[in-house]
Symmetry: C2
């Protein structure tokens, strides 16, 4: 099994995680989390989004987060934006990386914005031009390229059309987001093999929700296909926007732990990740989808044999 020696994780809990939470964290609490994430070795953090504070109040203090944290040259801090106004807000607070988004679902995009995904991306040209002027890198994401609640299957040719649309407005860093939790490992492997071969200049990111329990297998398949950049969310915060109550984003600590077990470097310290996850769960005040928070690191299971030959069962309980 060929896996990359090293992958990069982007912590998206501060954005995709917290935007789903009813309880608003204070700016100071977010800053502390972000600092801990960076101290744990994370080098790419999605801090928030420059969108309407009325529509997404949880993200209203994104500017303040950037103002406080921008400047560390070793860390890439990015934010989601919707339009040129978002670029202006980014420029004003020192944000150097923005991410645009389009839905891979034509039906969804037409219903919401009255245009096709490709038309939406073409419309991003003003953002990317302004970003270039302001010295800000623009990346793009495509939601639901692995399946949408409207069309179910999104043809690969349609995904390629969106990738080309992004390339034509100067965006060559592209994230594919399985926000509906419909991706399968085989599909991920095949799509990534195809698009990596077809668009060798693109820097790929993948973003998996664990809605139906496939996120870790999807990451494995993507790594087998040579992908090395993944989003993850502390404590597994987040959710499926189409299924209230479903599992969230794949948990950062679970990915870091499994990669460590396979010799795939993430640059992150799993114990610090676990501590952050515990803190996040306490802050949001409810259970989240982190396996490691419940089970701890495999290494921590190691035990001395008890003195008195205490019998420890395993799950195949076969006492005669």
């Amino acid at each position: 099994m060929q896996l990359p020696e090293k992958i990069t994780l982007c912590e998206v809990g501060l954005r995709d995680g917290l935007q789903n939470e009813k309880s608003l964290l204070s700016t100071e609490q977010k800053l502390q989390l972000a600092r801990k994430v960076i101290a744990a070795g994370c080098r790419v953090v999605e801090l928030g989004s420059f969108v309407s504070p009325r529509a997404v109040p949880q993200m209203a203090d994104t500017d303040a987060l950037f103002a406080a944290l921008a400047g560390d040259p070793g860390v890439e801090l990015r934010a989601l934006i919707a339009n040129a106004k978002g670029v202006e807000r980014a420029a004003a607070c020192g944000c150097k990386k923005v991410k645009l988004n389009v839905s891979a679902s034509r039906a969804h995009n037409l219903a919401n914005l009255n245009r096709t995904p490709e038309e939406s991306i073409a419309g991003f040209r003003d953002c990317t031009a302004l970003a270039a002027e302001r010295g800000i890198e623009a990346s793009g994401s495509i939601s639901m390229p692995f399946g949408s609640p409207w069309e179910r299957e999104i043809p690969v040719s349609q995904v390629c059309g969106m990738i080309e649309a992004y390339l034509s407005v100067g965006v060559s860093e592209i994230s594919l987001s399985d926000t509906s939790g419909m991706a399968t490992p085989k599909q991920v492997y095949e799509l990534m093999k195809t698009v990596q071969a077809q668009y060798p200049g693109v820097r790929w990111w993948l973003h998996f929700h664990n809605t139906r329990g496939a996120a870790m297998a999807n990451i494995l398949a993507a790594m087998e296909a040579g992908v090395t950049r993944f989003d993850a969310s502390f404590a597994g915060l987040g959710g499926c926007p189409f299924v209230p109550g479903a599992a969230g984003n794949i948990a950062t600590e679970d990915v870091v732990h499994l990669c460590e077990g396979m010799g795939v470097a993430t640059g992150m310290d799993v114990r610090q990740c676990l501590a952050i996850a515990g803190e996040v769960q306490a802050l949001v005040g409810h259970g989240t989808d982190s396996c490691l928070l419940r089970a701890g690191c495999a290494a921590d299971l190691l035990r001395e044999l008890p003195e008195g030959q205490k019998r420890a069962r395993d799950c195949n309980r076969t006492e005669p």
Copy 2:
């Protein structure tokens, strides 16, 4: 990505799942569950264990379950046993398949039984001889070959020693059980490639707990290595015997759903599996580790576009 066309799942919820539950299900409730599992297309079911009812009261009615269900030639019903007494109980109630177990951890086995795993397996010779006499097939399982809480790493040579011990007592169907939840996909792939090449006559089963979120990725890796037999538990029932509160066995419905999405046949109906999982959760009276129970099938997400062009957000909320 090369995956098998078809895999076989063994439903172990009635044994590995229910033995961890405090609330005792009635024999009639278990029978109804078993019948539904079989009706859903499952062809291998681990019904219970012939062990001390004092030690594992949840399994005390295993004989009654076999007496009621044995006889369907299309379904293999198996039970866990510890010794020759278990074979006698199996013979008495019409059970045609028993499974022996040993811990891959020398320290664990020595502490519990004062013998090495290989010595334990050699001691199974009376069971396998008796089973042969009674027309009962004997299989064997090895717990924690992917890592144990005592030694952490179990050398492959040691796993091979146990496999050879099983072969020498006439057992050629072997299950490897990651009961401590320490396996990684890379390790699973490599171990399975090795042992399949080295022992081509063995029928392999794999049994994964989702303790640290890796079970589905482990199944994927094993399928890539050519393994086609997996245990799974309805609703994700079960647990990690070393970590109270950790996630359980991989959920049958999650595996069936993902396999269906990849064109890997399981012979099982995902909707029936989902209904069973819901019933199981109601019977045990607490949440379990089933993603599908929370999210539903991906296909059920498909929706008509709402009349009034209702805007549906995805998780990249970018309202300007």
